[in-house]
Amino acid sequence: MNSQRLPSTIPEYLEHLRRSLAGADPALIHDALYDAEEYLRSELAENPGRSEAEVIAAVASSYGAPEEVADIYRDTETTVQTALRTPPPRERRSVLARFFGVFADPRAYASLFYMLLSLATGVFYFCWVITGFSIGLGLSITIIGIPLLILFFGSVRVLSLVEGRIVEVMLGERMPRRPLYTVRGRSLWQRIGDMFTDPRTWSTLLYFVLMLPLGIVYFTLAVSLLATSVSCIITPLMVWTGMATTNLQINGWHMLHVDNGIASTSLSGWSLPLVLVGGILLLFATMHIARGIGRLHGLLAKHLLVKTAQYA
């Protein structure tokens, strides 16, 4: 049926599957390999009398040959994934409609929320990585340093999976849902060695360290843009409803000053309509910026947390 040599060991089967899925989403490849390995190992464990090659040959009819499995995963991904994802907003025609249409895009809100959240997660990741790494490395001259370092590297893998879930839910970038299997049939020490030579371990560490400055920038941008645009919008409204007075300076110029329940602004009345329009434009621009940053950050996360492992 197929001119290619049929795989006779589990690593060969997985390699074959990986080749058949070449060009697909790395996260999908990751999941497909994980599922196949679970099935193959279970089948092998259920049939202790049979050789690995026999089991693999039998599996081709029940689980599917690598090419068939690849087709099935590609199919499901296109039909089900698109069904589960939030529908993309309809293409709006005019530039103006596209600019204001961002308010109807759930992805923009999710990205904005991610920008606010990233300060907290960024601080946590950074502290975890820096503390764990330096304690482990520092103590590695004593006997407890090495096990600490190994535990730390294991914890980074779990964190990477958690961050992957956050990124997929909020930024819409497909990320792996299963941890990466270590290669079977290697001793504990070899597996520990693999953890240190795996390029993904190091790129994950880099990502977590980067998350602190990025988190600070994202948070600051989100908060200051939101605060500026919202105050530009409510100041004119408060003046027009009689809740605030104009042309008042208290210790310098200010947009909106609230003291003892008395609100005031340094703006003069004629500029209020302009400020309102500017605030509304800035609010929409903020949503666009959030969506753009979300998209870029999704790509960064995918590159540092997933991609390197697939092509290493």
Binding site: D35, E38, Y39, S42, E46, S62, G64, I72, T76
Partner: protein, 124 residues
């Protein structure tokens, strides 16, 4: 239509469509009957045994469906180490999953009955 004109790929396509619609119901049913969490391979084998090979698409197709059911909140899962290989992901049905199972089973029976009623009297 004469039976010799019957096209094998058309039949296979039809079978594939049938199983695409029903496989999630079958998976919910298997997990709904099981008293304990099951992992992917176990579920596939149970379905193969009980379903008598009727839902015999390739079993690799079950895994993405399991994952999607989990994403929809109908299943719940946890990873546990196993002595015979890599850690396994165990699935169990949620309360929402049981509701969905009841509704889908009713929908399935209604579909089956109406298709049977329409087929009544057609030649074998």
């Amino acid at each position: 239509m004469a039976s010799e004109a019957h096209d094998d790929t058309q039949l296979r396509k039809f079978q594939k469509e049938l199983s695409a619609g029903t496989v999630s119901l079958a998976l919910l049913a298997v997990l709904g009957r099981a008293g304990e969490p099951m992992y992917g391979y176990q579920i596939a084998k149970t379905l193969e045994r009980v379903g008598d090979g009727v839902l015999s698409g390739k079993q690799s197709a079950l895994y993405p469906v399991l994952r999607n059911l989990e994403a929809a909140g109908l299943l719940d899962s946890s990873v546990e180490p196993s002595d015979a290989g890599p850690p396994r992901r165990y699935y169990r049905i949620t309360a929402m999953g049981r509701v969905a199972l009841r509704e889908r089973a009713a929908a399935w029976r209604a579909t089956r009955d109406s298709v049977d009623a329409v087929l009544e009297g057609t030649c074998e």
